[in-house]
């Protein structure tokens, strides 16, 4: 540990860690607002529980798989269980190793939480907990290793500044597989499932944007030009995506939807994630504006299929992530910290990016299928029909999101917590 950590860079990543930490609850609001009221708590808990499951597993094993020295495919065990992670500078950075570990941990948590949007309102909570735990070790950590941990994609020169591939393409692909295997909600395609609270969803989108400054900017790991560029690009791209989305909305139906606006902000953020440290601000505007188009129509189309990817994780994160990865190959520029891409004469980069996409989709798809098939072998993946009709908040969490307590009879709590005689009614 010859060089002590740089205080400015350390502070930057420290603040960024707090910002990314906030993104998982922000996602709970984003997804929760889109769910129905009877499933709001289940939806929110699917995000929040990732802190407990994925967060702890990250410390125990995930971080080591992703970032310990190992093979081109997977890291070793030298960093498992917080071993060898202290306050000394991490190699290749100017910040303490412990901080790098925590910063990366917040990424692992939110990536797993992202998938939940595909299977809300019917998946059993226990099966879900098991699923994201395994998934974070078997899919997330290895792919993070491939790209950022010294693995084969990184070595090959595939560009992914802040996780377009590692985070969004994996989550989007897993969403596709999970939605297929868990199956559509009862009455999907016959009944409309409408967002119970659009302002909640917009609040989530706003907090996601705010946190994403730490996600993308912080990925520079130092306060330098790249950090500034990544941050500004993270502000510009969603503005452009929003402008495109509202324009399509107004052109198609004359009405600018708010759910569309919240979606557009996220899509712009997803698309700029792999590119933000490699492209110019003008390119960021272009990427945001362009990426909104495939996402808009992917989401539109999906609703008429049998794929009940309920909150459109595939449409927003999968499509946005892939578009962003490919556009990184188009717009990346050596002058802005990247490798020159198609626009600067190097079409090969697009090929590399495509390879990254294909490899990630393939492994994620296969492994996600395997994990869910294994879980299905030991427990049902979804709740019963009656519970689904009643709502998962009551049946899986024993609570209601919103209640005025009318008709609630207080039950005297005996020592062992078995509900006994009702004491009296409550209104």
């Amino acid at each position: 540990m010859p060089t002590p950590p740089n205080p400015v860079d350390t502070l930057f990543v420290l603040v960024s860690t707090a910002l990314v930490l906030l993104m998982t609850p922000a996602l709970a609001l984003f997804y929760g607002g889109l769910a129905r009221a009877k499933n709001i708590l289940n939806t929110a808990m699917m995000s929040l529980a990732a802190f407990a499951v994925v967060g702890i597993l990250w410390a125990v094993l995930g971080y080591s798989i992703a970032f310990a020295p190992g093979t081109a495919l997977v890291g070793g065990f030298s960093l498992a269980a917080l071993r060898n992670i202290g306050l000394e500078t991490r190699d290749g950075t100017t910040i303490p190793h412990l901080l790098y570990f925590a910063y990366q941990g917040t990424f692992a948590v939110i990536t797993a939480a992202l998938i939940s949007g595909a299977i809300v309102e019917r998946m059993r909570f226990r099966a879900y907990l098991l699923f994201i735990g395994l998934w974070s070790l078997i899919v997330y950590a290895p792919v993070a290793h491939w790209v950022w941990g010294g693995g084969w994609l990184g070595r090959l020169g595939v560009l992914d500044f802040a996780g377009g591939t590692v985070v969004h393409i994996t989550a989007g692909t897993a969403a596709l597989v999970a939605a297929s295997m868990v199956g559509p909600r009862r009455d999907y395609g016959r009944q409309a499932f409408l967002p119970h609270n659009v302002p909640m969803m917009l609040t989530g989108a706003a907090l996601l944007w705010f946190g994403w400054v730490g996600f993308n900017g912080g990925s520079a790991l130092a306060v330098n030009g790249v950090a500034v560029q990544a941050t500004v690009n993270t502000i510009l791209a969603p503005m452009a995506a929003l402008a495109t989305w509202l324009t399509i909305d107004l052109a198609r139906s004359g009405r600018a939807t708010a759910v569309g606006a919240g979606t557009a902000i996220v899509v712009g953020l997803v698309a700029i994630t792999p590119a933000c440290g490699f492209v110019s601000p003008r390119a960021a505007l272009a990427i945001g504006a362009i990426a909104a188009i495939p996402c808009y129509f992917a989401i539109l189309k999906r609703a008429s299929t049998r794929l009940d990817d309920s909150l459109d994780v595939l449409g927003a994160h999968g499509t946005g992530g892939i578009t962003g990865a490919l556009l990184t190959g188009v717009f990346a520029s050596a002058a802005w910290g990247g490798t020159d891409g198609l626009m600067h004469g190097n079409a090969a980069l697009v090929g590399k990016q495509l390879l990254g996409v294909v490899a990630t989709v393939a492994w994620t798809g296969l492994a996600t299928w395997g994990i869910l098939a294994a879980i299905r072998a030991v427990m049902p993946l979804r709740v019963g029909a009656r519970d689904e009709a009643l709502g998962l908040d009551v049946c899986e969490h024993g609570e209601e999101g919103y209640t005025d307590g009318e008709g609630a009879i207080l039950v005297l709590q005996s020592a062992d917590a078995t509900p006994t005689a009702p004491l009296r009614r409550s209104a």
């Binding site: 409408l194 939807t257 979606t263 989401i299 999906r302 609703a303």
Partner: protein
Amino acid sequence: MKLVVAIIRPERLNAVLESLYRAEVRGLTVSKVQGHGGEVEQVENYRGTTVKMDLQAKVRLEIGVSESFVTPTVNAIVDAARTGDVGDGKIFVLPVERVVRIRTGEEDQLAVTPEAPAP
């Protein structure tokens, strides 16, 4: 003794309450309901999901009145609630066998006799 049940537009509640007040009808109960009639449906879009909204927000009034008040009450409602567009709503007059004022236990006529307005 009759129970007048009226379904009206929410935006006319204001006017109807005033009109009933002028007709000296005092007690009444209001609830939020949704109605389906001949109204034009509204279309909404949420991402890829397009829906027609089949039920419109309405307000339901329930007013217990003595026989002599039935017609003034119905007229007061009709006057204030009418806009002339489809969807103005309906009034039903139901027979009532017994009315009790919970506070006093008074029954029938006494229980719904108009009282002085609130101070």
